[in-house]
Symmetry: D2
Subunit: 137 residues, 4 copies
Amino acid sequence: MDQDKAKEILESAPFHKFLGLSFDEYESGRVVINAPFRQEMIVNNEYDIMHGGILASLLDIAGHYAVLSQAGDRVPTANFRIDYLNAASGTETKAIGDVVRVGSNLAVANAELRQQKDGEWQTVAIGRGSYSVSHIE
Amino acid sequence: MDQDKAKEILESAPFHKFLGLSFDEYESGRVVINAPFRQEMIVNNEYDIMHGGILASLLDIAGHYAVLSQAGDRVPTANFRIDYLNAASGTETKAIGDVVRVGSNLAVANAELRQQKDGEWQTVAIGRGSYSVSHIE
Amino acid sequence: MDQDKAKEILESAPFHKFLGLSFDEYESGRVVINAPFRQEMIVNNEYDIMHGGILASLLDIAGHYAVLSQAGDRVPTANFRIDYLNAASGTETKAIGDVVRVGSNLAVANAELRQQKDGEWQTVAIGRGSYSVSHIE
Amino acid sequence: MDQDKAKEILESAPFHKFLGLSFDEYESGRVVINAPFRQEMIVNNEYDIMHGGILASLLDIAGHYAVLSQAGDRVPTANFRIDYLNAASGTETKAIGDVVRVGSNLAVANAELRQQKDGEWQTVAIGRGSYSVSHIE
């Protein structure tokens, strides 16, 4: 899928619009997606911690678009695994997706979330997913 | 955690409020959470398909509260796996969480999402997660 | 795959022969496999603990044959997750596989390992895997 | 754990002896383990394909020793996930483990298996695991 079409889908899906997503990078096999902070992303007001479900969503989306950049129009997620490494706070998040392999039935992609903490980009969560590429039309 | 406190957290966290969550059941080791449909949950307007990130969020939340019902005040998700079984549509979703085991450091829980299709409750996604219980205060 | 053919493969593959596997049950969508203990399965001589890799192998095999019982001749594992629940000891292990869903590309199966402890069958590990069924010949 | 002690455990555990493991590299946070081929590792004689359970075992062991190199004496695997990328054949396998993070309760490590095909090292499987480090004595 070319970047214009990917951008159109990224920016038009209702849940993506809620998340406010945009591409920082889009190349074959690798994407970086920007997710600005919004208050509804928080799980714990007191500690300003971002909800794990938001993080899972951003990881899956990053992996998904990394696969889309190499493999057609529809690549539904078959399964996904997330490891939470550090508490994510209420701030802008970068979601990076990298293709590991595109097979005839399944593609595998890695994803990573980064946030700035004390001026440095820190990894807050990592994920890996399988995407069904045999659905390609 | 008792049901009143769990209910208070379930209903006050900003992302939970976005999702409109409430308990259908809350007992030791098992919860059923109701998530009404809202338009922002959709990934594909044309086919009315719910976003995988919403499903991942609901699964994680169900597992999380199942563990909370048996294991203290803070049980952050350490890692999670989701298997998408059937396309989820724009309709009410039930998220069921069941504790598998609460250990001294980690708890493991299963989660399942169901939606009504043609009058029957169908499983659309399943998940399994590990939760850090040694953070208990 | 019918039981005779499944039995033939289960008992002839070199690694299966090392593990000494046999079917306790084989029906559509569910299998129970018996793995007798042998000394090479141990990771820690002092505490008589079975190696996690043996447990992972048994879980994958159970899920694999559960899928085979419903879905053709070749269903290679695409991915797998294992949760270790209790230390497994040097004793006979039962590996149970249950199909969750057979789709057009992927099948999902659950697996569980049980060992007798103090006269009761206890679950020592659980797994869930995706198997490529579009490879069916 | 220092390399001498790690080497002693790697080479003395019965299942490790069956696998014939030895260290190619052992440094803080990263290990490379060599697994020579033996006939019992095969699942399919006709196609000379290595059993997925052997691959799962090697991945888990690589992650485990990567964590051990940074985090004490006992770090039992809590859960593990494997993605099979390419069929592994009956030949020597390198298992690489890399620590992602060592937390106060859990460590996360990546693992990768490589085999030579047509003179090049190819990745045949990847894994990621969580290890309980709060058991440290």
